[in-house]
Amino acid sequence: MTERMYPGIGPDERTTFAAYSAFDIPEDLRELHGRYDVVATAKRVRNFRYAEEWMMMMMGGWIATIPEVPVKTGLGKVIWETAVAADEFGKRLPELRCGRRAVDSGEPSNNAFADFIQSLAGPETPNLTVEKLAGLFDVFIPHLIEIYELHMRETDQICDAPTIEILEDIVRKKRRHVAWGQEVLDRLCETDGLRERRRTRADTLREELLKSGGVTGTLDTRRESLN
């Protein structure tokens, strides 16, 4: 009998290829298991998109009212990378059965989170750079990193791999944003008074964010603190 290259319809018409590669490729041992189904992941990605889009917009609003030139220029890049993150989440939505028009439809997890975003965007005048940056770089972006990493750990590693890929890239950049923002804040807050303003602003926003349940609205509100 000649070696079969292609399987036929009967049990004796199998090919002779080994079921596993002769090249000793390590087997993928990950199991098909994840905390979020398609609908849940789609909802979370919508929440992520909402957060990124609003964060980008508020930083855009702030640039003109921040007097420190290096902060203005530094935020320029953070804005772009935040927009790219929002865009990636938007592109993922149609892949999660949200329809083709879902690309730009982020949504808040709940009204309390939408209110939190408005509180975050609240500081306006040029003397409030510390409050603007503390809200983002001490509270909100670290929270997003935590939730994105949680999603990467808990979601189905194979089925939801495209979301994981997106999040990996975003988290890498977010860590850089936090390092930059916190260094700027460390330098700006050179007196006890300024350091106290930074702490107060961060504490107030953490409390509000915690009460809202965070970006996905699912954070355990019994937690004593975020991050």
Partner: protein
């Protein structure tokens, strides 16, 4: 945070000094008449002097009087010309603050127009990064040439003119008016750098020019998109852009005349989505302003008036 801010609200650190935007408005409306130019500029002498006091522009005011605002702006940059170094720094500082205002204009578009299409926001976000880099680049070039931030007053009329509350007019003003002006100025700066053999400046400005063409293209495309199926809206938007371009001609400093300080960068503008009719229109807007000879004669009279005032002041002091 409120939507839309005034140019007076642009935040600056303690190095900056704010100039008076009235000068730019007067320059934009100068007629081709020596007496009229003198009558328009001379009454502003005190205002101009106050604006430059304590800055690197003070010696220019001392030398030329209020005419320095037309002399400095309207003469082409020439490395061999008197005061070439300080005039180069004056222009470089002007570009630096222009980039700062372009960054602020693009960034405000993200906040001011929350319902704009997502692709528009992506373009504006990209522009924020680019303009942020441009601010860094021109700050470094300023230092490379021996200058520093805040050495001249900052005029915020670019933001004032270009930042409309209407999205189509905003992109027409910022992306086509302001960024189009940047294309003209940067092409001129590249020529200057080639003339002086400054390869650092030549390469950096060439990269920036490439970005600016992209930003003008954003503007060209979004004006079309925002005004599609609405010819009346398009016409109002184009009128707004014409007004902005008229302001940005600086009384003829930017024109297609062979001896103009800043030539219109026709090839770059075509690549960015301007058509020849629009480019010709910018040329004709500038030709409506004073001719070079008119400005030179007016500058000479203004200098005489300035010298006479100084002489009288000196006499009063000695008496």
């Amino acid at each position: 945070m409120k939507r839309f801010i005034e140019h007076e609200e642009l935040a600056r650190d303690s190095r900056f000094i704010r100039g008076n935007n009235a000068q730019a408005t007067v320059l934009a409306s100068l007629p081709d008449d020596v007496d009229a130019v003198v009558k328009a500029i001379d009454p502003m002498a005190q205002l101009i002097e106050e604006g430059v006091r304590g800055t690197a522009a003070e010696p220019l005011f001392e030398a030329y009087g209020p005419a320095f605002i037309i002399t400095v702006l309207n003469e082409p940059l020439d490395p061999e010309a008197p005061a070439a170094g300080i005039r180069l720094l004056f222009r470089m500082h002007g570009i630096f603050v222009g980039e700062l205002q372009a960054l602020e204009g693009a960034a405000r578009s993200l906040w001011d127009f929350p319902d704009a299409p997502w692709e528009f926001k992506m373009n504006m976000a990209r522009q924020c990064w680019d303009e942020g880099r441009h601010v860094q680049i021109f700050e470094k070039l300023l230092i490379h040439l021996g200058g520093e931030v805040g050495m001249f007053p900052e005029n915020t009329f670019l933001f004032e003119c270009a930042c409309s509350d209407d999205p189509a007019m905003r992109v027409a003003g910022v992306n086509r008016g302001l960024e189009g002006l940047a294309c003209d100025v940067f092409r001129d700066m590249i020529r200057y750098a080639q003339k002086t053999g400054d390869t650092v400046m030549e390469q950096a400005v060439d990269y920036v020019l490439a970005d600016e063409i992209t930003h003008v293209r954003f503007g060209s495309e979004w004006v079309k998109e925002f005004t599609k199926d609405n010819p009346d809206y398009l016409e109002r938007t184009q009128n707004f852009r014409r007004e902005v371009d008229k302001q940005f001609n600086f009384g003829g400093a930017r024109s297609d005349r062979p001896d103009s300080a800043i030539q219109i960068a026709i090839e770059d503008r075509l690549e960015a989505g301007f058509d020849m009719d629009e480019i010709n229109e910018i040329s004709s807007l500038s030709s409506a302003g004073p001719k070079k000879e008119t400005l030179r004669q007016a500058a000479a009279i203004l200098k005489e008036l300035h010298d006479a005032r100084k002489s009288n002041q000196n006499k009063e002091v000695t008496q």
